[in-house]
């Protein structure tokens, strides 16, 4: 080797070896921590989406292959890379570091082999399909929630009831509303519900001219109020106040209650599907969705159809999601 070339090598020799090592460390850090962190920032989920261990292995193998190509790309590269390695092997940095490092590497390799051979005691994996459709009856596909889109006759009846100041409420909320009305006897009974659509409806009612669209929006608000009450009574314990699958009971279930605020849960399915799931619960699931792990009750045994639809409407509303539109619409 010429003297000049040797000088250049000497100038950068440490960098070549350590930059390769550093590059591998950085790639590992990106895959292990940066991607999950960015995913969390992008998806807004309360937990990061970690890269699976097998995938990390593949990325690292690719990185090592790339580094190998880089090193063997030219003789100079290779020499630069090997320079400190050779010096190390010849004990030019001292024989103690050489003995220590090589012993540690041997021990590490021995441990890895031992660890790989060790019989693992991990839970047998059972893959689970979250939205199974193998036994989803076609007739549910096109169902529309009558609580968020009430038929005209019902809106008419609602207007009549509101004119009489006697709107029908389900028993579960009626008791509390009556107590409120005793304390707040002035004004319309619906003023217990201080949302914009109800306020607009009450203003029109006072003026005498009520439009169907406004009345319908107010009726939906009433249904949502009832749905929220039913949700609080029946579903809250597991799915939580904020429909985040974090109710007071959630930690007791290995298969956690569904978080409806997650993208990819209730917004990716049609309403009829939700209705079917609420109706048949865990026992109604096909095998691919591991029915034996699901604590979801068969609500058809406890709730009426109307109650189930009201709860579903409230869930979508609380989660600030809209259901998928059935195909062919």
């Amino acid at each position: 080797m010429a003297k000049g070339a040797g000088k250049v090598t000497a100038k950068y020799r440490v960098n070549r070896f350590w930059s390769i090592i550093l590059a591998l460390v950085v790639i590992y850090a990106i895959v292990k921590w940066l991607i999950p962190a960015v995913s969390r920032w992008m998806t807004d989920l309360p937990f990061p989406l970690t890269v699976p261990g097998e995938l990390i292995k593949i990325y690292m193998i690719l990185a090592v292959v790339a580094m190998f190509l880089l090193v063997t790309f030219s003789q100079r590269n290779f020499d630069e890379f090997m320079y400190p390695v050779r010096k190390f092997l010849r004990a030019e940095y001292g024989w103690i570091p050489r003995a220590v490092v090589l012993t540690l590497i041997s021990l590490l390799i021995g441990y890895i082999a031992y660890d790989a051979a060790l019989p693992t005691k991990e839970t047998p994996i059972s893959l689970r399909i979250q939205h199974p459709s193998s036994n989803f009856p076609k007739k549910f596909e096109d169902l529309k929630n009558p609580m968020t889109d009430p038929p005209e006759a019902e809106v008419q009846a609602f207007i009549e009831q509101a004119r009489e100041n006697d709107v029908a409420l389900i028993e579960q909320v009626a008791i509390d509303v009556e107590r409120w009305l005793e304390e707040n006897p002035d004004g319309h009974m619906l003023s217990f519900l201080p949302t914009a659509p109800v306020k607009k409806f009450l203003a029109e009612l006072e003026g005498g001219e009520v439009s169907m669209a406004v009345a319908k929006a107010a009726l939906v608000e009433k249904n949502l109020f009832e749905g929220r009450a039913l949700y609080a009574m029946n579903c809250r314990a597991c799915h939580g106040d904020s429909v985040s699958g974090d109710g007071p009971m959630a930690d007791g279930f290995k298969l956690r209650p569904i978080n409806f605020t997650d993208n990819g849960t209730i917004e990716t399915i049609v309403e009829g599907y939700t209705f079917w799931r609420v109706m048949n619960g865990g026992p109604g699931l096909p095998v691919e969705a591991t029915p034996w792990d699901s604590a979801m009750p068969e609500w058809k045994l406890s709730l009426t159809e109307e109650e189930r639809w009201k709860i579903i409407a409230a869930e979508y509303d609380l989660a600030e999601k809209t259901p998928r539109i059935p195909e062919g619409h």
Partner: protein, 571 residues
């Protein structure tokens, strides 16, 4: 492309200087993002002015998010309230539990903000901080709803009750937790007699009377302070310090501001924090193999050598009658086996030992099994008779009756008619009466009661002990039996396992229980010696290769430029 770009960068010395900066930047971003979002339970500013618009905004939030428990009138009488224990707060009395103000005083705005943001763990009150819960409430919405809640309490307008004049702050000097500090805290715990209510081990078992009531007339449940997930006011030493400095209004929990100095209280807080249980995370219980006799008693020291597995439980809410106020939410399991038998130890905290059972007080499950009834949950205040000497304590281990095919299992709640489960039910009243305490039963779904196996197929024996607010129950059976409805324990296989627990004085019996989903138990086959062999071989090969490389490096020094072989080896 990527490779080329990298190469370009690496070969230009000037650009290389930027590399460390870039790495530092990337790493700092990675660290910044991987830290969980800080819980925003401290507001960025004071509460906004309570204009009519702001109060109306607060009322809308309240009606949508709070009224179903706390009631439209704020008196804790919403439609869901009567099914919850602890009962949702009645704001109109102006008694607030979790504060940073003197005992008996109102809370500060920030105290209320903290409660709304963090919730009260172990109760129906959940966190509403939108930094933690995606569709929780924004800071502005939380302030609005707090402003509205304050309208239920006229005292907030009275300058005489200004909570800001009665603030209790954390001690300026808060040494970090240490053994000495914890030991000092233990002494304070002793002489301040905390154990009179909370029990010597902090399990809430010291209470003298069962039927004490709080200011609202509801039963008092003394907290088990060893469960951090159930400590309402927060589980950090700072939170604990506040609880016994401010007292808990409306309950017998007093303030110790006058009785104890700041440093004593800080030590006590650290002692209480040190009692907190650390949950195990695994889902597979490894049964320990022994050569000799299996332990008979629950306090046998041999149990300590077996690995423990914590099993979290939930109330039985799958079918009516539903139960959302279980008092037991953790059972710790251990298992030991020898050539013939296997024995399980189940340990759980229960402040009262209930060993009587009055069958005629049992709830008729069909009463709540109606479509479209008012509710299918059990009301803990009048439907369930919650008193001593009424219902027994009990525990059941559940296994599939048939060996699982693939990953398929019976449903974790009692299986079904085609997929039955095998139950080992231990009952405290039987144990106390000196009868066979464990019954083997077959369950075929929750719709029918589990059926006891015939007398001659009852092979599980049991032994139990209760002390310091804790049950320890041992159940033993031969590894294999002739009975087709029994689980069979075979080395190396994963056997699904679930737990049911009943706390009698909490009104629990029948379907009112705590239950777990499926976990696994496995009988560890003795480890093969080849496992060590592989490790040793790998180590020797690595060592030999190292020597080879050294030899090659040395040899190469003399005749230059012969490195292709090493390149291969190095890769």
């Amino acid at each position: 492309m990527r490779f080329g770009a990298f190469k370009g960068t690496a070969s230009k010395p000037r650009k290389r200087a930027r590399l460390p900066v870039a790495i530092a930047l990337l790493l700092s971003l990675a660290v910044g993002w991987s830290v969980p979002a800080m819980a925003a339970d401290t507001p960025s500013g004071p509460i906004p002015e309570a204009t009519p618009e702001f109060l109306e905004q607060g009322r809308e939030v309240y009606v949508k998010r709070c009224s179903f428990c706390h009631g439209l009138l704020g008196d804790g009488e919403g439609p869901a309230a009567e099914f919850l224990d602890p009962r949702p707060r009645d704001f109109t009395l102006g008694v607030f539990k979790f504060r940073t103000t003197d005992s008996g005083e109102l809370p500060t705005n920030e105290d209320m903000f903290r409660t709304v943001s963090n919730g009260l763990p172990g109760t129906g009150m959940q966190a509403f901080d939108d930094g933690r819960i995606k569709n929780g409430l924004s800071e502005d919405e939380r302030w609005a709803v707090i402003a509205y809640i304050k309208t239920f309490v006229p005292e907030f307008d009275d300058p005489e009750f200004d909570p800001y004049k009665k603030i209790i702050s954390l001690p300026a000097n808060r040494p970090a937790s240490s053994e000495a500090l914890i030991a000092k805290g233990r002494e304070v715990f002793e002489h301040a007699k905390c154990w009179e209510c909370h029990g010597k081990q902090g399990r809430g078992d010291g209470q003298k009377a069962f039927d004490r009531k709080d200011d609202w007339g509801f039963p008092i449940r003394i907290r088990n302070v060893t469960f951090p997930w159930k400590i309402k006011g927060g589980s950090q030493a700072e939170d604990i310090y506040m609880r016994f400095s401010t007292g808990i209004n409306g309950t017998p929990m007093p303030s110790f501001v006058k009785a104890l100095g700041e440093d004593e209280r800080w030590a006590l807080a650290n002692f209480i924090e040190s009692l907190q249980h650390q949950l195990t995370e695994h889902q597979v219980l490894k049964a320990l193999k022994v050569d000799g006799e299996l332990p008979e008693a629950a306090d046998d020291p041999l149990w300590a050598t077996a690995e423990a597995m914590d099993v979290r439980l939930a109330g039985q809410v799958i079918a009516a009658p539903r139960w959302q106020n279980p008092s037991i939410d953790l059972v710790t399991l251990r298992a030991i086996y020898n050539e013939q038998e296997i024995t399980f130890l189940a340990v759980w905290d229960d402040p009262f030992k209930d060993v009587t059972h009055v069958a005629e007080n049992e709830l008729d499950p069909n009463e709540l099994r109606v479509v479209g009834g008012y509710n299918t949950y059990v009301n803990p205040y009048d439907v369930a008779v919650r008193q001593l000497e009424n219902f027994r304590d009990s525990v059941a281990l559940q296994f599939p009756a048939k060996p699982p095919k693939g990953t398929a299992k019976p449903h974790f709640f009692r299986g079904s008619s085609s997929e039955p489960t095998n139950l080992w039910i231990w009952r405290a009243d039987r144990e106390a009466a000196g009868e066979t305490a464990v019954e083997e039963a077959t369950a075929r779904g929750w719709k029918q009661e589990a059926k006891a196996q015939p007398e001659d197929q009852q092979q599980v024996s049991g032994q139990a002990v209760w002390g310091q607010g804790r049950w320890s129950v041992v159940m033993k059976r031969p590894l294999t039996t002739e009975d087709k409805a029994d689980v069979q324990f075979i080395e190396g296989s994963f056997i699904p396992l679930a737990v049911n627990v009943w706390d009698g004085s909490n009104g629990e019996h029948g379907m009112m229980m705590s239950l777990s989903t499926w976990h696994f138990v496995t009988l560890e086959a003795p480890m093969s010696w080849t496992v060590y062999l592989y490790g040793v071989i790998a180590m020797l090969v690595a060592g030999a290769l190292s020597l080879l490389f050294i030899w090659l490096a040395k040899r190469e020094r003399k005749p230059q430029d012969e490195d292709d072989d090493e390149a291969e080896a190095e890769a």
